[in-house]
């Protein structure tokens, strides 16, 4: 049967109807417009009882089993309570946690990265105020300010990591290194000694922005004119074309020959292997990679070393630490009492020790006994003069990426001046 063509025509009434429908749709979108919803905030309850099963949102899948054991202990002490872990990959967590947590459906208790994420979450009212909680006093005063804003204790940073190169103690001894360098010339001499011993002095994962930028912490901590240089770059007070940053970039160029070939394209995993097989003297990431190297079969002793980019007399810091994995109670949660009880449980030095030794991470809770040999070895760094990792001061991710990418570009062969100019151009565009 031949098909009959039915012409579709739009008369005046139809047109008006279409316009009306569009108007309604636009009105509907306006109702859900920007800024029309807000988060919770408020003060977390004190002295309540744990009677719910709560969601605990975090990004550390590698800690899942240790947390499972800790949760068992929590449920044992609170018969009606439970904790379910809601784990996202760290990059996803960085990108989307704030949107997921705002509604309060997940993450009655949660964690945040130090820096932009913490600041944004506080602004959005995701963090409930923990200032009134007694267990806050269990934490070291040195690290508590990381979880504060305007004097209010919103979060409790739980982990301490050292974001500076780890090194193979045995390999250093074999190469004849008896003392760690205290200035820039000494650090270059160390690299030369390692190269003479036929090992790659520095394994640096330049192909992975997050890991590559950990070296940035050590390279800038003594060169920058002030500790808050990231904030000042975003405020337009400091520039990438300033002498101190050009010096930093030039020092990156000096380090390039001591890194593995094509360092700007290297992923972290093969370099962990290189380090574990004793073919590299240093792995320029952070203490969080010690456990990864152990998992790959490394049996040698490991410690931390930071490049000092100035003379010994000018150096302000010996290394870099970061206090992160900031614990919080969701201001939009209806199960805040249980969430508070969970945080209190984690703040117990015995439980914090279980977490620390099980995950090979130091914690900010005081009075913890470290039994993990690697943690014991680097425990002295907890009281040494280390800078709070500067790269997490940046609140604008594009500014941070531009500044850190300049360092990668220099290792790739670009001149420090050109890399600095390109970075500053982006910074200028972003801060407008």
């Amino acid at each position: 049967m031949p098909s009959r063509h039915l012409p579709i025509t739009l008369d005046r009434r139809g047109l008006l109807g279409l316009m009306g429908a569009s108007g309604l749709a636009y009105a509907a979108t306006a109702c859900a417009g920007p800024g029309s919803t807000s988060g919770g905030g408020g003060t977390a309850p004190t002295g309540g009882s744990a009677t719910d099963t709560i969601s605990f949102a975090h990004w550390r899948a590698e800690d899942q089993q240790v947390f499972d054991a800790i949760i068992k202990g929590f449920a044992g002490a609170n018969a009606d309570a439970g904790v379910e872990q809601d784990i996202s990959p760290s990059q996803d967590y960085q990108s989307s946690a704030i949107q997921r947590l705002r509604g309060g459906e997940v993450g009655d208790a949660f964690t945040a990265f130090r820096g932009a994420q913490f600041e944004d979450m506080v602004s959005a009212g995701v963090f409930a105020d923990l200032s009134q909680q007694d267990f806050v006093s269990a934490y070291s005063d040195r690290f508590l300010p990381v979880g504060q804003q305007d004097g209010t204790q919103y979060g409790l940073p739980y982990q301490v990591v050292f974001l500076m190169p780890i090194y193979n103690v045995d390999l250093f001894e074999k190469a004849g290194v008896s003392e760690l360098p205290r200035d820039w010339d000494g650090f270059l001499a160390l690299c030369e000694t390692l190269r003479s011993a036929d090992v790659t002095p520095i394994a640096w994962p330049g192909g992975d922005a997050g890991n590559a930028a950990q070296l940035f912490n050590s390279m800038t901590m003594n060169n920058a004119p002030s500790e808050d240089f990231g904030t000042r770059i975003e405020a337009g007070e400091l520039k990438c074309t300033d002498d101190w940053f050009l010096k930093t970039l030039s020092q990156y160029a000096e380090l390039a020959p001591y890194m593995q070939d094509n360092a700007t394209g290297s992923a972290p995993e093969p370099l962990q292997q290189l380090f574990a097989e004793q073919k590299a003297g240093m792995l320029a990431t952070g203490s969080y990679n010690i456990a990864a190297a152990r998992a790959l079969g490394a049996e040698f002793a490991m410690d931390l070393v930071s490049p000092i980019t100035t003379t010994a007399a000018e150096a302000r810091f010996e290394g870099v630490h970061n206090a992160t994995f900031i614990l919080g109670v969701n201001g939009a949660s209806e199960k805040q009492e249980t969430a508070v009880a969970w945080l209190e449980h984690l703040s117990d030095p015995e439980v914090a020790g279980e977490y620390a030794n099980g995950t090979a991470q130091h914690v900010t809770v005081e009075g913890v006994e470290y039994t993990n040999p690697d943690l014991e070895r680097i425990e002295p760094w907890l009281s040494r003069n280390t800078a709070l990792a500067p790269r997490y001061q940046f609140l604008d991710l594009d500014v941070e990426a531009a500044v850190e990418a300049a360092c990668v570009a220099v290792v790739g062969g670009q001149s420090p001046e050109q890399a600095a100019e390109e970075a500053q151009k982006i910074v200028d565009e972003q801060i407008g």
Binding site: A25, G35, S38, D120, L271, G412
Partner: protein, 298 residues
């Protein structure tokens, strides 16, 4: 009075059948698009109750090159698009022509070439991240083993080459899928036309140029349009290969928009999304027109 029924006019009740589809379209496309337009005129950060209306400032900044990160992402995307569309179309058409006849060997080879398509982009990315590793990856290792150390590359670490290496991965992953579409299209061409062409003395090239190419045009149009849209949306492959956020040399429009959202610039990211939509539309229309002209010329 106007007749509602009768010859040539559908029964009014028939319009009701469209309602579910229209409702879904309005809720999931029209409303979000209008919302994006609304957000694009603000500086909303995505969570604060306060925001400023900035009018067309966001769009003006993007359209006038005031954001070099966006401009770089657009340039990378166009390079990626060009390489993927040309290589992928040629390769998939070539494979389809070679494997058109159904034999045991060709069925086996079709399966082999189609295999990467069923892998997730993230798996593909992680496999190729290893392939492209400059120190332990098989390419540089092989080059080193045969004494061609000079040709060893930094691959994704080389800002001038990085986007092309990702494009190559995309072609590897999807050529097999498009080969299947081309085979379906080629099988629709009547054998008589080839016989007639052969009787007229046409060689293989002339048969391809004057019979195959014009008649496979509808399939090519679909393949090119699909590949174009795919190239703009190669989000997971880029993040898998280049990390999150990807470095500037690997940033494409979709990853740029995502990074801007992550950076608590919801209004600005909405403006980028709108421009992104316009760019896809413009490129697709341009390609369709070019393809029509090419095939008319054939």
């Amino acid at each position: 009075m106007r007749r509602l029924t009768g010859p040539g006019r559908p029964h009014p009740a028939l319009y009701l059948f469209c309602l579910p589809a229209v409702a879904l379209y309005v809720v999931f496309f029209v409303v979000p698009t209008l919302q994006a337009v609304q957000y694009a005129t603000t500086d909303w950060d995505g969570f604060s109750p306060d925001f400023e209306r900035v009018g067309a400032d966001n769009l003006v900044k993007l359209a006038t090159g005031g954001d070099s990160l966006f401009t770089t992402a657009l340039t990378n995307n166009l390079k990626f698009l060009l390489v993927v569309v040309v290589l992928q179309t040629m390769l998939s058409l070539g494979l389809a022509l070679m494997l058109l006849r159904t034999t045991r060997a060709s069925v086996f080879l079709r399966s082999v070439y189609f295999l990467p398509t069923i892998l997730s982009s993230v798996s593909v990315a992680f496999v190729w991240r290893f392939v492209y590793d400059p120190n332990v990856g098989p390419v540089n290792t092989a080059l080193g083993a045969i004494g061609l150390d000079g040709l060893r590359s930094g691959f994704l670490g080389n800002p001038d080459q990085a986007i092309y290496w990702v494009a190559l991965t995309q072609v590897w992953a999807h050529a097999g899928q498009l080969m299947v579409i081309f085979i379906a299209g080629l099988q629709q061409i009547p054998e008589d036309l080839y016989e007639a062409a052969r009787l007229d003395g046409a060689g293989r090239w002339q048969q391809f140029r004057h019979v195959t190419w014009p008649l496979v045009a509808p399939t090519t149009t679909i393949v090119v349009a699909y590949t174009t849209i795919q190239s703009f949306k190669a989000f997971d492959l880029i993040l898998g290969l280049g990390g999150n956020p990807p470095r500037r040399s690997l940033d494409i429009l979709s990853t740029r928009v995502y990074t801007t959202f992550t950076n608590a610039e919801f209004g600005y990211a909405a403006a980028q999304s709108l421009l992104f939509m316009v760019i896809i539309l413009a490129v697709t229309l341009l390609q369709r027109r070019t393809l029509k002209l090419t095939q008319r010329g054939a």
